[in-house]
Symmetry: C2
Subunit: 412 residues, 2 copies
C-alpha cells in the first residue's frame, strides 16, 4: 500500500532564479485527493551524478517516486538512463513506442528526426504510459516495493498521462483512502482576527486539519480531512466546516474556487441589476476585475478611470467647485463619482472610488492609503472611509476588493 | 573554494498544492550573481527522519548547503536539532542570543514566552548570524569541508540576514568569480521568430549562455556570463549582448527590469505628452497598467471602459449610427474611440480598443481574438487589426500589450 510520495523535478532550467517547478503543485493536489501525502520534493539539474544520488535515496525511502522532465530527445535528457542504472535494468528499444513516435511525425507530414528514437528506449520490465499529447511516453515501474513513475515535463502532457493512466491505478493501490478539502474564501477582516474567531473551534480537531492562507484582501481557510473512503473523509470535513461557516457568517464570500468579482457577478445577474464604476486611485483595476469574468457584459456597463480633474468634471459631471474646494480625496467626491457614473450610464449601482495610492501625494491629514468608496443606488448613496497599508499595488488591490465587497454586502 | 550550492527548504506547509518555495528563487539569484551555481533544491516537511537523510546527503555532496525555515520556537521547528545530530554537535544555550530575544520582547512591552528560549539553542562551534528583523538568528557552520548556513523562513528576515552577513563572506570565498546577466525584454513577435533571429548568433557561445523565456506578449532574453571577476564576466556578456541588441532592434523595449507600461511612461514624460484610453474588450486593463506606475498621474489623464453601447455614445461621443450599423468591433469604431477620448480628455494621444475577448461572441467573420487598436494624435489616426489566440485573459493581455507597444513605437 502506498503511504507517502516523493517528487523529483528534473531540468537545469528549474534551478534558475526565474523559474519554479509548478508540475509538483498539480501532482500534490491530485495525490492528496486520493489520500497520498507528498513528503519530499527535489529539483535537480541535468547532471547524471547528482540525479543518481537523488534517485537512489528516493527509491530507498519512499513507496511512490514520481519524476518529471528529462524524457526529451536530446543529450540533456538523462532521466531514462539514470533511473535504469539505479534500478540495474537495461534500456531496450521498444518498437511499439518507436512506431507511435514515427506515426506522430508522419501525421504532420514530417520525418522523425533520428534523435527522437531515444524516446523509445525503455528500462526492461517498465510499463508504457501512452502519451496522447506528445512524443515521450510515461513509464511505470515497480522496484523493491516502491512504485516509480517517470513523466514528461511539459505540463499539458504530464497532466494528460497522469490523469488518464496513473490516477486510476494509484487509487486502486490506496485501499480507498481519501482526502477531501473544503475551501472558504473570506474578506473584510484580518488574518489574525479571523484566526481568533475560529481557532477555538478547529484546534479541537487533528483530523481534519485547518490551514489559513492570507493574501492582500483575501483570507482562505482550507479544511482537509482524511478518511478510509471519500464519504468518510467528506463527513469528517463537514463536521468542522459547518461550524467554521457559521462562525464566519457574512465574511465568507465563496465556498469554492470563485473570485470575489465572479461572486458579485452572480448576485448582479440574479437580481437583474447592472453596475458602473468611476475610479480614481484604483485606475481601472475594478473595471478590469469585473470584465475579466466571461459574460460580464450582461451587468457591467462601463468604468471610468478619471485621473485628471478635467475628466472628473467632463466625463462624470462632478461640480468643478467640489474638486477645487475640498481636494479630490474626500467622501463628497467619492459620492459625486458614484452618483455621477450611475446617472451617466443608467446602471442600477454606481461605484465611486477616490484615494491616495502612493508612494507620493500623502499628507498628515490625508496619508497614503486613505481611500473613500461610495455606492449609489436609486434610493441613496453610502460612503465608507478606509485606511489601507502597504505599497501602491497593495493599496490599489485592497481598495478594489473593498469596493467589490461593498456591492456583495449590498446585494446579500 | 565554493563550487556548488544546495538549498533545503524546510516546512510541511511548502508541501501543499497551493504553496511554493519562493525563498530559493531569491537565494538562487543572489548566489548566481557571485558566481555560485545552485545544483539541487529540496523541499521537506517537519519530519525528523526525512530531514535527517536529506541533510546527511546534502552535506556529503555539496560544498555549500543553505537551509531555510524550521528555526521557530515551536515543537515543529526541528532544523537546529537535526543539523546538530547529523554533524554530531551538541546544542548549547547561547546566552547572548537569549538576551537579544528577551530584549526584543521587552522593547514591545511583552515578556518572552518560554518557548522562544529554544531559538537560543546553537550547535557547538556555530557562528551566530544576527537577525535584526526577527527573533531567530541564522547560523553559519563549517563541517568536513562544506559550509552550512541555516536561515529563518520568513522572507523578510531571510533576505536581511543573507544580504547583511552571508553575501560578503561568500563573496570572499568564491575567489572573485562572478556571474553577470543581461536581460532584454521584447514584444511584437513570437518566441520562435525571435529565436530564429538570434540563434545563429548565441549558439556560437558556450559562455555566456542564452535563455529565452516567453510569456503572453513578452519575450525575455537572458544572457549570463561567468568570469573570474565581475569585469571579465561583464565583458563576456557584452560581446554577445551587443550583437543580440543589434539583431533585435526595435523589438526590444527594455534592457532591464522595466515593464512596458513603465517604458511608455518614460517616453511620455520625456516628450511632455499625455495619454487617454477608451477600451472595450480590454475593460480597464490598459488603464490599470498605466496607473500601476507611480507618478503616472503626470501623463495618464483618463480611461473609459465602455462595455455598453450607451457608454460609447454618451461618454466618448461615438455617433450612434456607427455603433448600430457596423457593430462595435470594427476599425471605424476603434478610430472613433481613439479620437473621441482624445478630444474629451485633451490628451496628446488617444487610444481606442475594440475586439472580441471571448469565450462567446465570436463569429466566422469576426472570430474570438479579433481586436482593433487605434491611436489618434493631432495629426491623424492610425488603426491596426490583430488576431490573438488563447483564452479571455490571454487575449486581453495581448491586446493591452499591443496597445502599449503602438504608443512606444509612435514615440521612439
Amino acid at each position: 500500500m502506498i503511504s507517502n510520495a516523493e517528487i523529483i523535478a528534473i531540468g537545469s532550467e528549474l534551478l534558475s532564479s526565474s523559474r519554479t517547478d509548478t508540475n509538483s503543485l498539480y501532482l500534490t493536489g491530485k495525490l492528496n485527493s486520493i489520500g497520498i501525502d507528498v513528503e519530499l520534493k527535489t529539483v535537480v539539474g541535468d547532471t547524471e551524478a547528482r540525479l543518481e544520488t537523488v534517485v537512489r535515496e528516493a527509491i530507498r525511502r519512499s513507496s511512490l517516486v514520481i519524476s518529471t522532465g528529462g524524457l526529451g530527445p536530446t543529450e540533456d535528457d538523462i532521466t531514462r538512463k539514470v533511473f535504469a542504472r539505479v534500478m540495474k535494468r537495461q534500456l531496450v528499444l521498444e518498437n511499439k513506442v518507436l512506431e507511435r513516435i514515427q506515426a506522430r511525425f508522419r501525421s504532420r507530414g514530417l520525418e522523425m528526426p533520428t534523435n527522437n528514437a531515444r524516446q523509445a528506449l525503455v528500462p526492461i520490465g517498465a510499463e508504457i504510459l501512452e502519451n496522447t499529447a506528445g512524443t515521450a511516453p510515461g513509464l511505470w515501474m515497480e522496484h523493491e516495493g516502491s512504485i516509480v513513475i517517470l513523466l514528461p515535463g511539459p505540463p499539458f502532457e504530464l497532466k494528460r498521462i497522469f490523469e488518464e493512466t496513473c490516477i486510476p491505478r494509484l487509487t486502486a493501490l490506496t485501499g480507498g483512502a481519501r482526502m477531501v478539502t473544503q475551501v472558504f474564501k473570506a474578506t473584510g477582516t484580518t488574518e489574525s482576527k479571523l484566526d481568533e474567531m475560529i481557532a477555538p473551534i478547529y484546534s479541537k480537531y487533528r483530523n481534519p486539519t485547518t490551514t489559513i492562507l492570507a493574501s492582500p484582501g483575501e483570507i482562505q481557510v482550507h479544511i482537509t480531512g482524511k478518511g478510509r473512503s471519500e464519504e468518510e473523509a467528506r463527513q469528517i470535513v463537514t463536521e468542522l466546516a459547518d461550524q467554521i461557516e457559521f462562525a464566519l457568517g457574512d465574511l465568507i464570500f465563496s465556498r469554492g474556487e470563485e473570485s470575489l468579482e465572479q461572486i458579485v457577478g452572480y448576485y448582479l445577474v440574479m437580481r437583474q441589476m447592472t453596475v458602473a464604476v468611476a475610479e480614481s486611485c484604483t485606475g481601472g483595476l475594478i473595471s478590469q476585475r469585473f470584465t475579466s469574468v466571461p459574460g460580464s457584459s450582461n451587468y457591467f456597463l462601463c468604468g471610468v478611470s478619471c485621473y485628471s480633474n478635467r475628466s472628473k468634471v467632463e466625463l462624470i459631471g462632478i461640480p468643478p467647485l467640489l474638486v477645487e474646494m475640498g481636494g479630490v480625496v474626500s467622501s463628497d467626491v467619492a459620492k459625486a463619482l458614484a452618483e455621477g457614473i450611475r446617472l451617466k450610464s443608467g446602471a442600477s449601482i454606481g461605484i465611486g472610488v477616490t484615494g491616495i495610492a502612493g508612494p507620493s501625494g500623502g499628507s498628515v491629514e490625508k496619508p497614503v492609503g486613505l481611500v473613500y468608496i461610495a455606492l449609489a443606488t436609486e434610493v441613496g448613496i453610502e460612503c465608507q472611509e478606509f485606511r489601507f497599508v502597504g505599497d501602491r499595488n497593495r493599496i490599489r488591490y485592497w481598495a478594489s476588493q473593498a469596493a467589490l465587497d461593498m456591492i456583495r454586502k449590498k446585494l446579500l
